[in-house]
Symmetry: C2
Amino acid sequence: MGRVSDARERLLKAANELTWKQGYNAVTVDAICEAAGVKKGSFYHYFESKADLTKEALEAWWQANSRPIIESSFAAGVPPLERLQRYFDAMYRRQVEIKREGGTLLGCAFFRLAIEGEGVEPEVREAAQRALSRKRKYFVQAIDEAKQAGLIRVDDVEAATQAVYSLFEGAMARARIQDSPEPLKGIYEQVSRLLDVAPEARDPARRTA
Amino acid sequence: MGRVSDARERLLKAANELTWKQGYNAVTVDAICEAAGVKKGSFYHYFESKADLTKEALEAWWQANSRPIIESSFAAGVPPLERLQRYFDAMYRRQVEIKREGGTLLGCAFFRLAIEGEGVEPEVREAAQRALSRKRKYFVQAIDEAKQAGLIRVDDVEAATQAVYSLFEGAMARARIQDSPEPLKGIYEQVSRLLDVAPEARDPARRTA
DNA sequence: CTTGAATTTGACTAACTAGTCAACTATATT
DNA sequence: AATATAGTTGACTAGTTAGTCAAATTCAAG
C-alpha cells in the first residue's frame, strides 16, 4: 500500500557520485538532496544520517557496479593470469571513460574513502574497507591458482600478491591525483615481472601454444 | 620591533598533525587554534585563510621533515639501488614509530591530501602534488643511475619507475587504510623484481664484492 | 471509492562554520 | 623611558550545517 518512489535509489546514486568526486566531508546533505531532486525531509525518511546513506551507497555501488566488472574479468573459466590482465584492462578503459564523461578521473571509490581515516564515521570507513578486502580476494585467488598451475615462479606468493595489489591500487590512486590514466598503462607487464611469470605463459591473451 | 612569538610555527604544526590524521575538510580552524593554543584572531593575523595555512603547512612539513629523511636515504655517495632500499627501510620504521606515538598509522601526508580531489582548494592540492612530484624525482634519478651502471636489466626504465613509485605509494596508502605497517614489509625485494636487478647487485646492503 | 500506509514538503532549530575587527598588550629598538 | 610595531584577544557576523517535524499529498489495495 501507499505510493511508490525511486527517491531512495536517486539518493544513493547522487551520494556516490558526489562523494567519489569530492570526498565525504566536502559533500553536504543539501548537495546530495539537490543532485537527487529530493527534499531534505524525504532524505531523512529514507536514511538515518549522512553516514548511514554513505554506508549504504558504498554497498549498493559495489553490488551494482564494482562486483559485475570484477566478476566478469575474474570469471571462473578464464586462466588465472589472464584474469588479472583483463581486469587491469577493464579498469584502464573504465577510468578513461569516467574522465571523458565527468571531466575528472576518479580512481577507486572505496580506496578514496577508506584513506580518509579519522574524520569519517567508523561505519563508513568499514564499509569502504570491506569492499576493498572483497576486491583483494580476487587477486589472491587468481595468483594462488597461477602458482598451483606453475604459471609463475615466485617463491613468496603472499608477499608478491601484496605487491601486485599495492601496485594496482597505487596506480589507480596516482591516476586520480594526476587526473590522467597514464599510471595505469601497462600494469600487467609490471605485474608479470613481480610474479616472475614463466616465459611460455607471458601475454596470455596472445599465447597460441 | 614589537613582540616575538612562535604562534605561527605552532599553527603550522597543529594544522599538519590534524590534517594528516583527519583530512582537510574534517579539520576546523577552531580545532587547529585550540591544538596550537592560539586564539582565532591571532590565526588570521598570520594566515589569510585555512587553505593558506594548509598550503604553507605542507611546504613547511616537506622542508623540515620529508626532505631531510629522503635526502639522507638518497645521499649522493650511496649506490643507487641501496638508496631505494634505505628509503623503504626508513619509511617502514617511521610509520611504525608514528603509529606507536600517535596511535594511528598515517602514511604519506601529501598523498593523503592530494587524493582528496575536488572539495579541496586547488592551491592546497597543488602544494601536495608538488611535494609528491619532488619525491618522485629521487626515484627517477636513482633508477636511471642504476640502469646506467648496469645494475638493472629492465628495458622500459620509465614504465618500471612508474611501477616502483606506484607500488611504494600504494603500499603506504594501504598501510594507512589497514592501520598496519604490513604492506610496507619487504618492498625492496618486490622492487628488485620490477627492476630486474642483476643477481650480483642484489641485496646491496649485504654485498661484499 | 474509500482507506491507510508510504511518501513528500517546507519551514524550523541548534550547533557549527570561516572569517572580521577594534581595542588591548607586550616588547625590541631608539 | 618613550614609542612604534608586532602580537593578542574575545566578541561579533553571516552563512552553512545536519537533522526534526507536523501537516499535506499520493496512490495501491480492498
